[in-house]
Subunit: 239 residues, 2 copies
DNA sequence: CGGGACGTTGACGGTCGTCAAAATTAGTGG
DNA sequence: CCACTAATTTTGACGACCGTCAACGTCCCG
């Protein structure tokens, strides 16, 4: 039990600066620790929450990698995002107290379970938490703006380049390499996220390899020429 | 001055049920009235806020019609949404205290100016406001999921059909016709929002007209066959 | 070793973007 | 009110990009 108490404390979690506000007093830290009522392990392939399921908790990812995907009634489905350690999932459920997408673990993962009514309660008392919650939701809105821009105005190569740059940048913020990454998702999932078919994903990877922009061995990717990728996304403002 | 005081009261605003929580006590209503510090008129074509501008306020649309659009550095730009009376704009600015998109009035409009720190302050005291703010942000996230699905997996006809249905549904919720609407935006703006070129928008409209699904006279649209539109969006789950 | 999931590659066709011109509307000044 | 220009929209012809279908290759795991 002691172990459990220690385990669920945000105050000594090494992901804290990624998912919690900074600069808290000890008192505030104590309150924040109450946010997380449990940890939950999710095996690769398992679902953290389903679309249609009642919403009660937000989840902070401690370890592992998730995808969120919509499954509309007519069978159309799409990956709406990939989430890694320190990121929060479940925000879509707040409006109607119902999750509107599935969250699936792409590798064995562990999440912190945070009952949303407790979040609301504590954020009434701890201003910086309140602000933090607002920022997290706003960040998600801005992130989705980026996805909308990608889907609405980029071609296949630009999409994949933007995708790789985004992934590696987020991984780097977590202490991983700037130039090497392991894709936790299949080509199909990449395609779904980027609004392109699996064959196009594969072909575009091949093209990048041919141009010595990346090395690809299955899901292991090494970026050889970051500038080239940036150039593809952002075709050189010439003026 | 008296006039001004009366004017900015949410408690007697006829858009209240669209943008404010319901079931408040009188006391809470008084607090809510403090949210709106001013009204602001925005002329057609004028900008409510610019990308890059400092974020301090959220805006509730009282009358009129807006578009929000990203203008990425490389000249790529895209309409990310259209907003009408009762909807809130500015949420994207919260993360970094900076607006990340432009909000432009597509017709003469009036908005309620709500300083965000005041929203945070009052929502610490009025639980239903807190909940409401969270729901509004979550709703925006879910709305964007829909746009992502549209852009990532629909073809031109499906996009335009979904767009028309969405518009008319929201207008109907505001007391307008279920079958008739006036487009406040240009074909180009529609195209930008739907990720298609203006010519494709035009052609798709023409196709719908030819099939007697809609009547189009410039920006005036009459929907003749709602079911056909729904059928285009959602190609009949046959199984 | 063999089956199945996953990924790659090729050939072909459809959808939609591009370019161009015409048509319609809006806006301006006389 | 009308003439004239600018802006927006429509339509057509053509081609590129990417989706579809199919076959083949690779990896994983029992």
């Amino acid at each position: 039990m002691k172990l459990q108490t220690i385990k669920v404390a945000c105050s000594n979690c090494n992901m804290r600066e990624l998912c919690m506000p900074v600069g808290l007093s000890n008192d505030e830290l104590d309150r924040i620790d109450d946010l997380v009522t449990a940890r939950r392990k999710v095996k690769r392939g398992d679902v953290l929450f389903h679309s249609g399921e009642q919403f009660t908790n937000l989840f902070a990812i401690r370890t592992g990698f998730f995808k969120t995907c919509i499954n509309s009634e007519d069978g159309r489905g799409q990956v709406t995002g990939f989430q890694m350690a320190g990121e929060i999932v479940g925000l879509d459920g707040i409006v109607n107290d119902t999750h509107t997408c599935d969250a699936v673990a792409l590798e064995d993962a562990e999440v912190c379970v945070m009952p949303f009514d407790r979040i609301e309660e504590i954020s009434r008392e701890v201003n910086s938490l309140q602000r933090h919650v607002h920022k997290i939701m706003s960040r998600e809105i801005v992130r989705e703006h980026g996805v909308i821009l990608l889907l609405g105005s980029m071609r296949a190569e630009e999409r994949l380049a933007a995708f790789l740059l985004n992934l590696v940048q987020r991984l780097h913020a977590r202490g991983f390499s700037q130039s090497e990454l392991i894709l936790r998702m299949s080509r199909e999932e990449i395609g779904s996220y980027l609004g392109m078919k699996i064959e196009t994903v594969s072909r575009t990877f091949s093209k990048f390899v041919e141009e010595n922009i990346v090395e690809v061995k299955q899901r292991h990717v090494r970026i050889l020429n970051t500038d080239a990728l940036k150039d593809i996304v952002n075709p050189k403002a010439c003026d």
